[in-house]
């Protein structure tokens, strides 16, 4: 126990990152220059790099009296979160300047939210988990309302805050129910409790509350209602951030909490997750049809994608967890790429966000159109793009676990969702242009290009990612 107490290095990435956040804040306040936002963004990117390197090299152990664990699973997810957060910061460079919200707090808020997510991922106690969730959420509430002169952005922030508070309440209530009936907040002790005795009704109702609270974070239906409104209202880099990093972190929490403390309650929670997954897949694919705003389209798309990821969670097997991790790795690049394309949608200085504005992009900006095609194909799961590999591993796990219904519904809904992804491409390639977009900023081209490269070449280099995901999954089950 003493060893665990003193083992503070395992949280070094978080500690250093939080310290960097405070330092960058100081830098931002002290340097009264016009470009302090750019400088702070660069510093934040550098701290992300440091945090990533530390995460990879920090000793893997349990520490802080069991509050905090660094294992391969946590490292894998943290790297994904850091990549997603970095892409969001890069995306904000041009967008924020152009929209007059280039303030140095922006990257710092992303950084703080990222610290929260990293804590969530490593948390092995309800208390540290809740702390992480709240830290990441509070920063995102502010980020959503960051364009405070824009009514839609303020509305998005407020909506997200009120509903988020409700979800936090559900989460906390669930935790207290579990504590009341099982007598512990520690994951390992809870696991021991549920191994030896059958769970009492109160405790499992608590699990349902926790699932509902977390389902809000990953915007799984029917806890997704905030998603389209908030995605539409929030500044695009924030939306890009919300669509990737917090989703990855929250799904990781889902996986950890369901497999570690509640692993023996599999028969009880499995049906819940299956239900959430099916409703999300169906809702995400059906409601997206008929959207004319590309950000709302992406909102429904992300709901659907969380449904697919939940398929892997629902299996409750090591293969399922591996599938989820591969899926998330393939998803963040395509998603960040699409948001880069959305930022590039600017005509005569004004941002546009109708899908119809993409008409004729294939002629006016063939490179961007080409990349957008990669992303749409990847999101739709067309081989050989990254999204296909992700779906393959998730559905493979479902089939191996004998969950044919889930796999079949997943395939059917991805066929439906292909319709609207292709519909976007139809506008891009087959319709007459209504005027070209303004020139792209280098930061936007960078994210789109990187996303495109990864999305396209993922199938060649899939093996290392899959192996890492497998090792991560084994850390949870082994």
């Amino acid at each position: 126990m003493v060893g665990q107490l003193m083992n503070w290095q395992i949280a070094l990435p978080e500690i250093v990152l939080a310290g960097c956040g405070l330092l960058v804040l100081m830098v931002g306040v002290l340097i009264k220059k016009q470009n302090s936002a750019q400088l702070c963004s660069m510093l934040v990117l550098a701290s992300f790099l440091v945090a990533a390197l530390l995460s990879l090299s920090a000793p893997q152990d349990v520490g802080y009296n069991g509050l905090f664990t660094l294992d391969r699973f946590a490292v894998f997810v943290k790297i994904l979160v850091l990549i997603a957060a970095s892409l969001a910061v890069v995306l904000s460079l041009d967008y924020n300047t152009h929209h007059g919200i280039a303030r140095f707090e922006f990257p710092v808020l992303i950084l703080l939210s990222t610290v929260g997510m990293m804590v969530m991922v490593s948390a092995t106690n309800m208390m540290s988990l809740y702390l992480g969730v709240e830290l990441s959420s509070l920063a995102i509430y502010v980020l959503a309302a960051f364009a405070r002169n824009d009514v839609r952005s303020s509305e998005a922030g407020l909506k997200y805050f009120v509903l988020g508070a409700l979800a936090s309440g559900l989460l906390l209530y669930g935790m207290s129910l579990v504590y009341g009936f099982a007598g512990s907040l520690d994951f390992a002790s809870l696991r021991a409790v549920f191994t030896t005795e059958t769970a009492q009704l109160g405790a499992v109702v608590g699990v349902v509350f926790i699932v509902a609270g977390l389902a809000f974070k990953i915007s799984a239906a029917p806890f997704h209602m905030w998603t389209p409104d908030v995605y539409e209202g929030a500044p695009v880099p924030v939306t890009g951030f919300m669509a990737t990093a917090p989703k990855v972190a929250a799904l990781a929490v889902f996986v950890r909490i369901l497999s570690m403390p509640f692993g023996h309650l599999l028969p009880q929670w499995q049906q819940l997750i299956v239900l959430l997954s099916i409703v999300s897949m169906v809702w995400g694919s059906l409601a997206a049809i008929g959207q004319w705003n590309i950000k709302r389209l992406m909102a429904y798309s992300s709901i659907g994608h969380m449904g697919y990821a939940l398929v892997g969670v629902a299996t409750g097997t090591e293969a399922g967890v591996r599938g989820v991790l591969v899926y998330l790795a393939s998803y963040i690049f395509a998603s960040a790429g699409v948001f880069a394309c959305i930022i590039a949608m600017r005509k005569k200085g004004h941002a546009v966000e109708r899908i119809a504005d993409l008409k004729g992009l294939g002629k006016t900006d063939p490179m961007l159109a080409f990349l957008l095609m990669f992303f749409m194909f990847s999101l739709a799961g067309v081989p050989p793009f990254a999204g296909f590999i992700g779906k393959l591993y998730v559905f493979l796990a479902a089939v191996q676990a004998g969950m044919w219904t889930l796999a079949i519904i997943g395939v059917l809904t991805s066929v439906i969702s292909t319709f609207y992804y292709l519909w976007v491409l139809k506008q891009v390639y087959f319709d007459q242009s209504e005027g070209a977009f303004d020139g792209r900023a280098p930061s936007v081209s960078f994210v789109a290009g990187l996303g495109g490269l990864v999305t396209l070449s993922f199938f060649v280099f899939a093996s290392p990612v899959v192996n890492a995901a497998e090792a991560a999954a084994r850390a949870l089950f082994g």
């Binding site: 407020l158 009880q268 819940l272 809702w283």
Partner: protein
């Protein structure tokens, strides 16, 4: 490692010329691709030398892990054994010369970077194929070659005939590929692996495995061997699947040279040798190989005798020579088959590039009836064409003599019915080969000019960048057989090939080659000389004879001129019914049923969508309420299920 450089340098060249060609310009694209090819050729030849004369350790060069699903584990790796190295050295060398030649030949084309990019990609795909360490990688290269050939045959996509030829090549190859893919799948089920080492190491374990098909038991190796050969037939244009090869000359001439000599068609022959550890235990499949190979050798030679297009004659000669190679593989003389592949690569590339030089000189005229008397105007091209033809006809001490002789002796030494059939076909084909080669030479280079004066005045020798590769290839066509026959098929063969080619315990065919009677050894040469003499008689001494023969034996002449009516037959059997079925499926099947059902489902889907979207009101209270309803629903379902 230089071996990897030899394989990946063409890819780099292709990528640079393909993606940056428009930026860096024509000249730079040529320089990049050609110099990378030269680099690849140097590395390829050094690798070959290190195996042939040094004692480099053969093995596997790992690149990276690729696929890992279930039992299927595939890694990218380059196989480094004699068989691969021989192919790599040949492909890179020939392809480099063809690249160089193309610099001159394609100098007036409007899309030079695209051409060189395709050419390099073609080379890379072939290298991937021959260096594959497992069947998936080999199939990747196999398909890559198919795609590249499609792109190159249809390079002049403005010409409808080029597009048609490209599609034909692709579709006919697909037929073979289907069998090949099924063969690979069966091997995976049998061996639980498609790595060559795992497969070849476990050959003994599955010796008696059988498949139950159509109420009969077939040995697995026979089925797999037959499927692999059917795949090889498509790629190597054997009879029944040969129809694409003559049409493939619609592409630019350097492409024809590359397809016919170094890449693509040799893939099937290579596959037979590569799979020799398995083929050796599939005697019935090998009999099929022998039969098809021998028949193709004769069949293509008969057609070659009456064609009038200079490239088409050479195309049928390729078809015929490939038949020889399969014949050798069929009787178990894989070494002889590979040797003929290598010598053939040199003289066939020479003949095609020489023909290109003739066409270039004749202002794009390809009909040999409209040529004649060119030797004085373009003596260099004439000389190299003579050398190429001498090698092709198997005249002693030219390259083709050693390899063709070995094949015919092997067929004779097999002492089986089919072996003798192969021997007879081969000897007759050798006679015809010499005949049509000299028919081509005499009509093109000798006698009185039949072209109009304007064209004849324009006849000129090609620039140095085109004649240089011709010179190198001509040297090869003279020397390759002489230099390498000890190594490939002679006394040093066991040390040279090592474990790369497997001869079954009862297969002593290579050893018996030496003890054949004098007459068998001389026969190919004799019939070759006879063929030349007949051509001389028919086209120089008695010029009226071909016409008289054609009128007297008109049905036979037409039968041959129309290539045994294979195209017409396939049109009637496959193409027209396929179109008819297609039209039926389109009108009734597709328009009413297939479109009708999804359209109904689609309207249902969009109806559902519009209902769902209506729930999205924007009101915060509704959203919170939905969440709580969701929670209540979850808990109720949960308690109910419990």
């Amino acid at each position: 490692m230089i071996y990897a450089v030899a394989v990946f340098a063409p890819l780099l060249g292709s990528v640079i010329a393909g993606f940056l060609g428009r930026v860096i310009g024509d000249r730079a694209s040529q320089i990049v691709t050609v110099s990378l090819m030269v680099l690849a050729a140097i590395c390829g030849d050094v690798s070959f030398a290190s195996v042939a004369w040094g004692n480099a350790h053969t093995g596997v060069v790992p690149v990276f892990d690729w696929i890992s699903v279930g039992d299927l584990h595939i890694a990218w790796a380059l196989r480094f054994d004699t068989l691969s190295v021989v192919m790599v050295a040949m492909v890179t060398t020939i392809s480099t010369l063809i690249h160089l030649y193309s610099v001159g030949y394609m100098s007036h084309d409007s899309s030079i970077p695209r051409f060189f990019s395709y050419l390099s990609f073609f080379t890379f795909a072939m290298l991937m194929l021959v260096t594959a360490n497992n069947l998936a990688q080999l199939f990747f290269g196999w398909e890559g070659v198919g795609v590249a050939s499609y792109l190159l045959i249809g390079f002049w996509y403005q010409k409808p005939s080029a597009c048609a030829a490209a599609i034909k090549a692709f579709v006919v190859n697909r037929v073979g590929d289907l069998f090949f893919a099924v063969g690979i799948a069966l091997m995976f089920f049998l061996f639980k692996s498609i790595e060559f080492d795992n497969v070849f190491g476990n050959i003994q374990a599955h010796m008696n495995a059988t498949y139950h098909i159509f109420g009969q038991d077939f040995r697995s190796y026979e089925v797999i061997g037959t499927l692999l050969f059917l795949g090889a037939m498509g790629k190597s244009a054997q009879i029944f699947l040969h129809t694409w090869l003559p049409d493939a000359m619609e592409g630019p001439t350097p492409v024809s040279a590359l397809i016919h000599a170094a890449t693509m068609v040799t893939a099937g022959v290579f596959l037979m040798s590569r799979m020799s550890p398995l083929m050796e235990f599939a005697p019935h499949a090998l009999q099929l190989v022998t039969f098809i190979g021998a028949t193709t050798a004769l069949f293509a030679a008969t057609i070659g005798c009456v064609q009038n297009d200079i490239k088409r004659i050479i195309a049928y000669s390729t078809c015929s020579q490939l038949g020889y190679m399969f014949l050798a593989a069929g009787v178990g003389a894989y070494q002889a088959s590979m040797f003929h592949l290598i010598t053939h690569a040199f003289f066939k590339a020479l003949l095609f590039l020489g023909a290109g030089s003739v066409i270039h000189a004749m202002s794009d005229e390809q009909d040999i009836r409209k040529m004649g008397g060119l030797f004085k105007k373009i003596p260099f091209t004439g000389t190299v064409m003579w050398i190429g033809s001498l090698a092709l006809a198997g005249i002693p001490f030219f390259a083709g003599y050693y390899s063709k002789d070995a094949i015919l002796e092997a067929a004779y030494a097999a002492h089986t019915g089919l072996g003798t059939y192969g021997f007879v076909c081969g000897v007759v084909a050798a006679f015809l080969t010499a005949f049509y080669s000299w028919r081509l030479l005499i009509l093109t280079f000798h006698g009185t000019p039949r072209a109009d004066k304007h064209t004849m005045d324009h006849v000129h020798e090609s620039p140095f960048v085109m004649t240089f590769p011709l010179g190198v290839l001509a040297t090869g066509a003279v020397l390759v057989g002489l230099l390498f026959h000890t190594m490939f098929i002679g006394d040093a063969r066991d040390a040279f090939w090592g474990a790369a080619i497997f001869n079954g315990p009862t297969n002593h065919i290579m050893a018996t080659l030496e003890d054949r009677s004098m007459i068998i050894g001389l026969l190919p040469t004799l019939v070759g000389v006879a063929g030349i003499f007949l051509a001389y008689v028919m086209y120089v001494l008695v010029p009226g004879m071909p016409r008289a023969l054609a009128t007297t034996f008109r049905p036979i002449y037409l039968f041959l001129l129309n290539k045994w009516y294979f195209d017409e037959l396939y049109n009637a059997i496959f193409v027209k019914p396929a179109f008819a079925i297609g039209r039926f499926l389109w009108k009734t099947g597709d328009a009413t049923i297939v479109d009708g059902v999804p359209n109904g489902l689609a309207s249902l889907t969009s109806y559902g969508s519009s209902r769902l979207v209506k729930l999205q009101t924007g009101s915060l209270a509704t959203y919170a309420f939905t969440m709580l309803i969701g929670l209540v629903a979850l808990i109720s379902i949960f308690l109910w299920v419990r």
